[in-house]
Amino acid sequence: MADRKTLQAVMISGHTNPSPGFAMQRDLEVCKLVDTTTCIGCKACEVACVEWNDLPFTPTTFDNTYQTMPETGYHFWNLIKFNEHQNPDGTIQWLMRKDQCMHCADPGCLHACPADGAIVKYANGIVDFNQENCIGCGFCVSGCPFNIPRFNPSTKRVYKCTLCSDRVGEGLEPACIKACPTGCLKFGTKDDMKFIAEERAKQLRDNFGWQNAGVYDPQSVGGTHVIYVLHDATDPERYGNLPKDPQIPWSYTWWKWLFKPVLGTFALFGLLGVLAHHVTHGPRVPQPEPPKKDDNIGGAY
């Protein structure tokens, strides 16, 4: 994987031609594994993200929580969400989930994006924003089921976690992974991470009494390149609004890719229609019409 060719684009937003990287390399897809059952909420990943990406410091305000800010920002792409979940027996489960771009196999942001090359999906699975091409329409925000893309009003561009595509392209792990002290974050191929995650979930079910432990890799977006191990995979919402069944709005799927061109063509039929009318019926002219000089000639045919 330690090769730049994994950064060949296989999907490009708003693009006319097929993507150059499509089916052109055999490297495996990468994946970030977040084991929420061993996350200690230390925020090292938050700091690493800000440091590696040279993001500016954001003034924050105390908000009755350990969470750094209410949600990720255009210059804060990685946020641990803290949630106090009350179990039916009254005990409290303090949940910490690292929130960032999920790098969906079927990215809603990319589907929604109207700008050529503003959002690309690389062969290794990373979904990356190219702000050069971003037109700032914000449709990606609407397309994303995970509430991730963030609009910066001063640059009029949208930003999010890059999965450190700059590092991964050079064969390094993302900065957050490198900083994680407990090993709750892991990075590798999707297959490997999926395997480790399932093993861990099984361990949690068999040995630690979490009967509903499981892996979060939602198939409704084709799977993601960030996967979670959850204590209770039946209720991901408790981890700070992790959607149980993330959906890309149909506006950006079949509406955009089927109905838009079809209906657009119908609208063009309007133009054809009136021209046809002119040809077949001719114009309606004010009456009385002046006598046509070539009436007789017409009759000669």
């Binding site: 006319t16 609407s142 004010p286």
Partner: protein, 250 residues
């Protein structure tokens, strides 16, 4: 605003704009659109097309992104599009106030619509005698634009402010409604342009010079002709025909 206040506003606007421009009405012609109406029409038209073309690249980028360079690229297209749209809606709103009286639906309009096949096919050379200042087709188009503008405005503001303010689902729905509104209006605009140019010759002048020939008036808007001249449009037409025939024989 009460309807009286609207009228007052429009009257005042018409009066003001009459000083800004000139409408020459020659013999055998009738005043159709005053300066104010014509300026509004072309302003609306301008912003309509700016919005339309700047929207194309966003509508279906893989097909239409060659529109965006016209506006200085994707970013500027996206920045300008909502402003074009707002201007379009604003000026059309003025036009709507200006025209609301003649655009009100009349019983004859329903008959006109029922008859549309014979009219459009040219079977009937002249419009039905109760066709007033605007025919039912024009009125339908007008009200479609009014409705479209409301949809544009609501969905446009949602899209403009974005998912952060209105939520991703309302943006997604607005995205579709905005498109539908544009598609309908785009279809309508073809008919409008056709009929006002080569489809019904003489119409174009009404929006350029503001005047139309009497023949145009009795042919397409007989009731209006009757209203402004006091003469019967059919008789006037027959009279003209006789004169024409006489002229051609001499």
């Amino acid at each position: 605003m009460s309807s009286r206040a609207i009228e007052h506003f429009d009257d005042k606007a018409r009066e003001t704009f009459e000083h800004a421009g000139r409408t020459t009405v020659y013999g055998g012609e009738l005043l159709r659109h005053p300066v104010y109406t014509r300026i509004l029409h072309w302003t609306v038209a301008l912003f309509f097309f700016l919005a339309l073309f700047s929207g194309f690249g966003i509508y279906l980028p893989w097909l239409f992104r060659w529109f965006t360079p016209i506006f200085g690229g994707g970013q500027l297209s996206r920045i300008m599009h909502p402003y074009f749209g707002v201007a379009f809606v604003f000026f059309f709103a003025l036009q709507a106030l200006n025209w609301i009286q003649p655009m009100l639906w009349a019983p004859g309009d329903t008959r006109w619509l029922r008859n549309i096949k014979t009219i459009a096919s040219g079977e009937e050379k002249m419009d039905p005698p109760d066709t007033g200042f605007f025919n039912a087709g024009q009125k339908a188009m007008f009200w479609e634009i009014v409705a479209g503008c409301i949809v544009y405005l609501i969905t446009g503001i949602i899209l403009w402010a974005g998912a952060k303010t209105f939520g991703r689902i309302s943006v997604a729905i607005s995205y579709v409604l905005h498109d539908i509104s544009a598609l309908i209006m785009l279809g309508g605009i073809f008919i409008h342009i056709y009929l006002s140019t080569i489809g019904e010759p003489g119409t174009f002048h009404s929006m350029i010079r503001g005047a139309v020939s009497e023949a145009w008036a009795w042919t397409f808007h007989p009731a209006w002709y009757k209203q402004v001249t006091g003469r019967d449009p059919v008789q006037a037409c027959e009279e003209a025909r006789r004169q024409m025939n006489a002229g051609s024989k001499s």
